[in-house]
């Protein structure tokens, strides 16, 4: 139905890779049992082996040990568990102060806000106009009460990469736990927990052509954390519920299918898109950092036009993109990321995010540039702005 669609919203969801589906199939139809204890029946032992194996493969991609990685239902749950789990473990013992940034994705931002309503204090560390965290402000913000710093690896909208090594080193030096949401970076941007001093890492399969509804959390050995869902003793007694073994296997397969060569190919398409948009269409600007950004993300604001109109016109021409416009968002609010980096509503409303994935082709780039040039010209013709 959508074979001619040029899909450029791979940060939101990705097409499943057939190889992932093939790897998952046996765990729906053949080895469909739950992962039993070591004294269980054979089919359950095989299921356990598959789960352990999937866990080991993803842990390896993070440079972690197998017993430091647990599966969840996705990045939302992972970040909830990381932040609330640490708050539960340390809130009484150490303090009730958390540090984050104003441009985090909702799983982190709204979890911190929920804790604020329960009496925790939060500091939103300053970011510059490209979205990079002010490391001096971070350092100054840490108090003896601080229990956790949660700063994303890469931004979901503008693609800005944080210097998580520096963030981690500051946290280490001050004796504070560090969580990072790496949903949009992992594994295209390498993150090795043996080299980066980080205690908790959120990852998800939905951004890398894996199945929906599965994610994970890296938890460094010895990290104080409590479970936030009550139930059975699965996932090292941190995440109860019947294990989603087909999806765990799919996630591991998806991680391994991401290669540096592929990421370089996506980056090349992204670079060409940006170069043409910024050079050929007047009154455009890049949102985010020109260098420290996700290789497959572009985010551009087109002045004098509104994003939802742009998106609809592109949809009619067979292109799927995303926008930071208030009209497009479920809450009718403009992108908190663009506003958070000092942009105004106009810049947010005219912002368009393009995120590349495995199924984009080089020739699509020129087609999308031409479609955008045409739509922007048309919308500017009917706009009261930008005529003088």
């Amino acid at each position: 139905m959508y074979e001619n669609l040029v899909y450029l919203d791979n940060a939101a969801a990705t097409r499943l890779d057939e190889r992932v589906l093939e790897a998952m199939k046996p765990y729906f139809f053949d080895v469909y049992a739950v992962a039993t204890s070591q004294f269980g029946y054979s089919i359950g032992l095989d299921a356990r082996e598959a789960l352990d194996n999937a866990r080991a493969r993803i842990a390896a991609a993070l440079g972690a040990n197998s017993d430091e990685f647990i599966f969840t239902s996705g990045d939302t749950e992972s970040s909830n568990l990381a932040i609330k789990g640490v708050a539960l473990a340390l809130g009484e013992k150490k303090g009730r102060h958390i540090i984050t940034s104003p441009i985090e994705d909702f799983p982190v931002l709204h979890t911190v806000r929920a804790l604020e309503r329960q009496g925790f204090q939060a500091t939103y560390v300053r970011v510059d106009e490209t979205g990079r965290v002010d490391l001096d402000h971070l350092r100054e913000s840490i108090t003896p009460e601080t229990i956790l710093v949660t700063i994303q690896t890469a931004n979901q909208e503008i693609g800005t990469l944080q210097d998580i090594r520096a963030v981690g080193e500051i946290c280490r030096e001050k004796g504070v736990l560090f969580h990072t949401d790496a949903t949009h970076a992992f594994p295209r941007v390498p993150l090795d927990v043996r080299e980066i001093p980080v205690d908790l890492v959120t990852v998800s399969a939905h951004t890398i052509h894996g199945p929906r509804g599965i994610g994970g959390l890296y938890i460094r050995k010895g990290t104080p954390i409590r479970k936030i869902l009550d139930g059975g003793f699965q996932e090292f007694d941190l995440r109860p519920g019947v294990e989603n073994i087909p999806s765990a296997v799919g996630f591991a397969t998806a991680v391994e299918l991401v290669t540096p060569d592929e990421t370089a190919r996506l980056q090349k398409m992204r670079d060409r898109l940006l170069e043409r948009l910024l050079n050929e269409i007047p009154h455009t600007r890049l949102n985010g950092h020109p260098v420290y950004r996700l290789p497959h993300n572009a985010n551009v604001s087109f002045r004098f036009v509104e994003g939802e109109s742009l998106l609809l016109h592109l949809d009619m021409r067979g292109f799927a993109v995303s926008t930071g416009s208030a009209c497009f968002s479920r809450s009718l609010e403009a992108s908190h990321v663009i506003l958070g980096i000092g942009g105004d509503h106009e810049r947010a409303h005219g912002s368009v995010r393009f995120t590349f994935g495995r199924y984009n082709r080089e020739e699509d780039v020129d087609r999308v540039v031409e479609a955008i040039a045409e739509v922007v010209r048309e919308l500017r013709r009917i706009s009261p702005l930008g005529k003088e």
């Binding site: 036009v305 208030a326 809450s331 106009e346 702005l385």
Partner: protein, 211 residues
């Protein structure tokens, strides 16, 4: 799933009627601002004898429902007298468009307000209005009927969200019966500030949520 917009909305969005400026317009108005995201400009040519709108054009910086409503109100208003055109409501515009999704109604109200503001601009220029109307509780209530509750697409007065209105020394205080954590709370606050903040006798607009 089909698009949330009717065929008529999409048709007007794709091919908006009466787009552009009238350079020697008899009246014009701009509603909204780039800062609040949506903006509509309306230009009028009016017969000085009959007060019939002989030509009307609009420009839109806004989403699909904003553009479509701008387009439809120019069609509805053309050929009508100023008095008749003043009576055009967003309800009427929305019906003419085959309906709008509730969450998008506030974007269409802006276009209707743009038409009214342009008519008012003509009346002011041609000495057809008396004094400037002061901002009273009643006036505020009237304006709040143009602020939509995006959950249902009806205004916040009709949906009984307005709990209290106070006007004192240029400070307008509106209390809404809604949780401050409601997903639309910030959007409604912005809308109310936008509708009242520019009034000649208003210094400050305070929107409070109790829920």
């Amino acid at each position: 799933m089909p698009l949330p917009y009717s065929e008529i909305v999409m048709e007007h969005f794709r091919n908006p009627r009466n787009v552009g400026r009238i350079e020697d317009a008899d009246a014009k108005a701009i509603e909204g601002s780039p800062a609040c995201g949506d903006m509509v400009a309306v230009y009028l040519k009016v017969d000085p004898q009959t007060h019939v709108i002989t030509d009307i054009k609009f420009e839109s910086y806004g989403c699909a429902s904003n553009i479509a409503t701008g387009s439809i109100i120019t069609e509805l208003a053309k050929g009508k007298t100023l008095e008749e055109a003043k009576q055009i409501t967003w309800d009427e515009a929305s019906k003419a468009l085959g309906g709008l999704p509730p969450v998008k109604v506030h974007c269409s109200v802006l276009a209707v307000d743009g038409l009214r503001a342009a008519i008012q601009n003509y009346e002011e220029r041609h000495g057809l209005v008396k004094e400037r109307e002061p901002t009273t509780v009643e006036f505020v209530r009237k304006r709040l009927k143009h602020v939509m509750n995006p959950v249902v697409g009806l205004d916040i007065v009709r949906t009984k969200l307005v709990k209290e209105i106070e006007v004192q020394d240029g400070v307008v205080r509106v209390v809404l019966d809604l949780s401050p954590d409601h997903m639309f709370a910030p959007a409604m606050r912005e809308d109310i500030e936008e509708k009242l903040g520019h009034r000649w006798d208003v210094r400050q607009v305070i929107v409070e949520f109790t829920g």
